[in-house]
């Protein structure tokens, strides 16, 4: 009795096991760059045109013709657009493609080896593991990066990107890649920029296509390469691409002035505290009166807003639309949480200069605003003073207060 039952069950499980094994992985040969369909849908929700399957395929083909494929990336061969020091084809070839080594023993496929399971093949930040991670991995396709030395939403510098790769981002899933050598890090940074530039051009083409295309009209109709509209579109691509490349080449590090002479003194901290709780800066409105990061916690980051609030889709109410997005591969919208400043853990780096950059120009893509217009440079340093004492404040770590620690609150 027992045994026949056992046998039947074991057979069932065996079949199940085999079918699980067969069900995935068969399609691993070459992963293509997929179109940003979430953005296509966002444009439709915004009230622009809806692109049909043929139009979407045409856009994807156009992008592939410009940028190549994940296995064999290309640099746009468009007269008048070059990539001085931004994207180097040699380096891309090291970072792209399947994992392996070339004849001379150099490692290839670095992106697929180290990054793809989080950041995704197109750099959409929605790789296989992404839905478990909080914050979600970065979507490069907007060109927006958080922890950098440049102004506002300006593009990051080469050093900004490689610093993140070396240090990782504490408290998030973004690892430190200090095991990689300089050349490898360099290639990865080039590849991140390549995906960023590609993604941004893709967004702009989608915007134009959703705005301009008639029913059934293709963005680039290869059957009529001589037509006026074709030429117009090609020069549009060229212009957009040139603008995107410029935004990367022209980005500039914000100079950091030396701290005021009384920096570190009680008076400096008190000034900082005043600003922190003032309605000019609103720091405490978001970070909370306790600075535990529990102030305003219901906002979203820009990556999410692009396809929700900005196109009149409320993540909490328009659930049907959100589900449609998720079916297209979007990650479920999540609130952006202000940092708990009592832990003394800064994701973008803990040097005073890092905090200066964060507070002076805000954290791009997140609700954290730039204080540059409200505060003078000295006042920013005072605020930093106050922020840096928060972890030692009585509320944070009663037992850890140094003897000579001043009374702050």
């Amino acid at each position: 009795m027992y045994e026949s039952k056992t046998k039947r069950w074991s057979l069932l499980f065996f079949v199940l096991g085999i079918s699980i094994m067969m069900s995935s992985g068969c399609n691993t040969s070459e992963a293509p760059f997929l179109l940003n369909t979430v953005y296509v849908r966002a444009k439709k929700n915004e009230g622009l045109g809806e692109l049909n399957a043929a139009q979407q395929k045409n856009l994807a083909d156009t992008l592939n013709a410009i940028f190549g494929t994940p296995d064999t990336p290309e640099l746009p061969q468009i007269a008048g657009v070059d990539f001085p020091g931004l994207v180097d084809l040699e380096k891309l070839r090291v970072a792209a493609g399947p994992v392996g080594r070339n004849e001379s023993g150099r490692e290839l496929g670095l992106y697929r080896k180290h990054c793809v399971h989080c950041h995704g093949i197109t750099g959409d930040g929605a790789g296989p593991t992404a839905s478990f991670l909080n914050p979600y991995p970065r979507d490069y396709r907007r060109g927006t990066f958080k922890f950098k030395s440049t102004k506002g939403t300006d593009r990051p510098t080469h050093e900004d990107l490689s610093r993140i790769l070396v240090q990782g981002i504490p408290g998030t899933a973004m690892p430190s890649f200090r095991i990689l050598d300089e050349g490898e890090l360099d290639s990865l940074v080039h590849y991140v920029r390549y995906l960023g530039i590609r993604g941004e051009l893709e967004r702009r083409l989608i915007e134009t296509a959703a705005d301009e295309l008639e029913d059934e009209e293709l963005f680039l109709d290869l059957d009529q390469p001589g037509s006026g509209i074709f030429q117009e579109r090609v020069s549009l691509i060229k212009e957009e691409l040139a603008a995107i490349v410029d935004s990367w080449t022209e980005t500039q590090v914000t100079e950091v002035p030396p701290p005021p002479v009384d920096w570190g003194s009680d008076a400096s901290i008190a000034t900082g505290k005043k600003w922190f709780f003032s309605s000019t800066t609103n720091c405490s409105k978001c970070h909370g009166d306790t600075a535990l990061g529990d102030g305003q916690t219901n906002d979203y980051d820009e990556w999410t807003k692009d396809w929700t609030l900005k196109v009149n889709v409320n993540p909490l109410e328009d659930l049907e639309k959100i589900r449609e997005y998720e079916r297209l591969g979007a990650l479920h919208p999540r609130n952006a949480r202000p940092r708990n400043l009592r832990q003394g853990i800064y994701r973008g780096g803990r040097r005073p200069i890092d905090l200066y950059w964060r507070i002076k120009q805000g954290i791009a893509g997140t609700p954290m605003p730039a204080a540059s217009s409200q505060l003078s440079d000295d006042d920013i340093w005072h605020v930093i003073d106050y922020v840096m004492t928060l972890p030692y404040d009585a509320l944070s770590k009663p037992q850890n207060v140094p003897e000579n620690q001043r009374e702050i609150r």
Binding site: T6, M21, L34, S131, N134, G168, P175
Partner: protein, 321 residues
């Protein structure tokens, strides 16, 4: 015995290969960069990059295990008169060759899918070696069991189910490790969910098994030891599983308010990361093997006829030890 002891490191090194994604470090097979496997200059191997070191090491070790399997086959044919034991030895040789070819094809076709299968069948071979170990050990052949009781049946069923679940769990785990680059996050999510579900199922079975053995087979030492060992391994494996998550993806958000979680930075391919992940994989094989071992012992308990024709184990031991 020797065979099992050399196969286990093979599993470790094999999983190291995946941990470091070194599977394609050597682009050709069966040769290594054009050299015959055995004649690849060892200086280049030792001094070369880490991933080449482990990939080539995995190949050498695999070849070594193959040789031992041949030796085992010869010894079995000469010393063990149990027909089915001889068949098993032959089956093992075929299995090890198939596993090698599978590993080789994985390299030749650069296929993650074959790598996944290679990763799933490795533990099966390891389990075979452990079972062979049990079947040829003097313990098994000497001990006269044969309690044809319902307790024995339960034991048999529990251990079989533990083994099946453990294998399914291994397959699920292999899916998590060998994710295709274009796997969607939903698929991964579902796989993780089943991996966790299966973990609880295996754990529950393992503990039930240990309790059952404790109650009914207290005096049968090999059985008791194996069952307790299994329960212990399972608990350890759970912890390693959690640790694997943390060293790869950091602490979950609900712990973010704790200092240790907020300040933790994942470090790619750091020593703790690769050790923990690799240990998690290797322990999975060990659990499967232990469960199967218990199953084989329970079969033997129920059917003492299996060792009616006792082998000449002095000869066997002589060669194996």
């Amino acid at each position: 015995m020797t065979l099992a002891w050399t196969t286990f490191p093979l599993i470790w090194v094999g999983s190291l290969v995946t941990t470091y994604d070194a599977g394609m470090a050597v682009p050709d097979w069966p040769s290594t960069y054009g050299y015959n496997l055995l004649f690849y200059p060892w200086q280049t191997w030792i001094a070369g990059p880490w991933d080449l070191f482990i990939e080539h090491g995995h190949r050498l070790l695999g070849a070594f295990v193959g040789l031992i399997t041949i030796a085992f086959l010869v010894v079995t044919f000469r010393c063990d008169r149990r027909r089915w034991m001889q068949w098993m030895a032959l089956g093992m040789l075929i299995a090890v060759i198939a596993q090698g070819v599978l590993g080789g094809s994985r390299v030749l076709f650069d296929s993650r899918f074959l790598a996944l299968i290679h990763g799933c069948t490795g533990p099966i071979f390891f389990s075979l070696t452990v079972i062979a170990c049990v079947l040829t050990s003097p313990h098994t052949t000497r001990e006269q069991a044969g309690t044809c009781s319902s307790a024995g049946h339960t034991l048999q069923r529990l251990s079989l189910f533990t083994a099946i679940f453990a294998f399914l769990q291994l397959v699920l785990g292999a899916h998590l490790r060998h994710v295709a680059v274009d796997t969607s996050h939903e698929v991964f999510r579902v796989t993780v969910f089943f991996h966790l579900l299966m973990a609880t199922v295996v754990l529950a079975h393992g503990i039930a098994l240990a309790l059952h053995v404790r109650r009914h087979f207290h005096d049968y030492r090999p059985l008791r030891r194996a069952a307790n060992g299994l329960a212990l391994l399972l608990c350890l494996q759970m912890m390693l599983g959690g640790a694997t998550w943390v060293v790869k993806y950091s602490w979950p958000t609900w712990l973010a308010d704790f200092q240790f979680a907020a300040s933790y930075t994942v470090t790619a391919q750091s020593l703790p990361q690769s050790l923990i992940v690799t240990a998690h994989v290797a322990l999975g094989s060990l659990i499967l093997a232990t469960a199967l071992m218990l199953f084989v012992r329970s079969l033997h308990l129920l059917q003492p006829s299996l060792n009616a024709t006792s082998p000449n184990h002095r000869g066997l031991l002589g060669v194996v030890v």
